[in-house]
Subunit: 312 residues, 2 copies
Amino acid sequence: MGKRIFAADIGGTTVKLGMFTVEGELLDKWEIDTRKENNGGFILPDIADSIKAKMESENIAKEDVIGIGVGAPGPVDKSGVIYKAVNLGWGVLNIKEELEKLTGVTVMAGNDANVAALGEMWKGGGEGYSDLVVVTLGTGIGGGVIIDGRIVTGYKGAGGEIGHIHINDDETEVCGCGNKGCFEQYASATGIARLANRKLGSSNEDSVLRKCEINAKTVFDAVKAGDKLAMEIAEEFGEYLGKGLANVADVTNPEVFVIGGGVSKAGQVIIDYGQKYFKKYVFHACRDAKFVLAKLGNDAGIYGAAKLALNM
Amino acid sequence: MGKRIFAADIGGTTVKLGMFTVEGELLDKWEIDTRKENNGGFILPDIADSIKAKMESENIAKEDVIGIGVGAPGPVDKSGVIYKAVNLGWGVLNIKEELEKLTGVTVMAGNDANVAALGEMWKGGGEGYSDLVVVTLGTGIGGGVIIDGRIVTGYKGAGGEIGHIHINDDETEVCGCGNKGCFEQYASATGIARLANRKLGSSNEDSVLRKCEINAKTVFDAVKAGDKLAMEIAEEFGEYLGKGLANVADVTNPEVFVIGGGVSKAGQVIIDYGQKYFKKYVFHACRDAKFVLAKLGNDAGIYGAAKLALNM
């Protein structure tokens, strides 16, 4: 039997776990609950127990495990320390050290968005590229910047926090981070709903959106059905998405943007609206960046965690 | 005698040359004219001749030269190809290959701003740091992003082109790059003069700036003398500088910004105005980035070119 890698993607509700070959084949995946009681003190022991149980049932010796990769929802520095994970109840915690103590296996940990980016580079939409930015358009906007095949962790593990790039001086509502005018106030799922509600309030035009729940899916379904008001909302979204990503491109000049997260389920239409304005705002030498859709969906985190362990 | 490294920093008027030890001691520096005739066809042969003459006069054998590092004013990719250097008359040119043919010594080439950043990391204001951004506030704004001690070259050599980050939707004048609202339209030397002239035009307030030439130096001299209008201009400058660098920080989370270029000659006052607004706009996890002044002045380019050759 070849060597194995284990992967854990820690979310606020469940921990996704996976077992991989070194070539990146996902042999098995399963989930456990994220127990947040006791300031999240059960989470790492639960992960350790689950992986040890899998090793026993599959007859895998410690020597055959290359490592465990972990993605966690917060800034994680290069030594595996997470600074705060509000969703889990964690304060400052050395994930690497703790989980190594519990398992006896080498551990690598990273921020979940960064780790998912690594997964998309390894086996997803970014396969074959080494200078890329993975953008997750979900409730907020997460990002993972990869240079020469390596995640940009940053000094305090906050590399790729592109959701909080400032792109609008005129915003009056406050972002979750406390600032005003952040990228994710416009180009995330929440942002699209906000743009839609504002537009519906300021316009008298008829629209299918006046008769349904407003969210990223209903807006882009309406766009695809040719709804004029929805298309105006999509233009606004595209301008913000393009402007934000242009600023990212001016810093790192990626070859490709990989667009994932719930919003990206609308498909190529997201890219079409965003790329149009990207080309308007970006510095000319960075203008030919490609845009592709992410491929791994919710599995990006475990693929990336496995790749993180493999890169050790 | 120990090994030697040669360095060339190609500018529009002169080529700065240097000879270094592997420890980074600058043993000798000199300049030659940049001959732009013949589409810049003399530039690399002139550099090769000058370095070969130095090797002969100093009795240095080819085997004792680790390499030649080159900084050039344009986007240079990882293979040493420059895509365009308008100032030199160059189109697409493989600097590495050409200069290796002319000298028989291994060559590494990079963009001049990126190479200067490497110099500041090695022996300047950024010494001891490995995640940093060097910002050159000159006629325009140049940048060099360094992650884990390595320059972010980017896919087409345009990494660190932070001068063209979009930070103002309301701008009506066009930047040299063709866009509107670029970072360098406000926070460069040219930008400061523009802000000053606008302010002088829109205000009736008295100011020493009404009686002198307007440039970055006269504006910050007036700030230091307590001139009220100059201080208002400096606040505006600081807001733009802070906003632009906050966006850079949200992408790569550097430990330190190293501020250089002509504008930085005004000293700590530049940092004080910029950092105040940086803290306002940046994502909280990136807020503790330090700001320091560059140290190497015009020698940053040759130091960085030498470091580039050393890193081969």
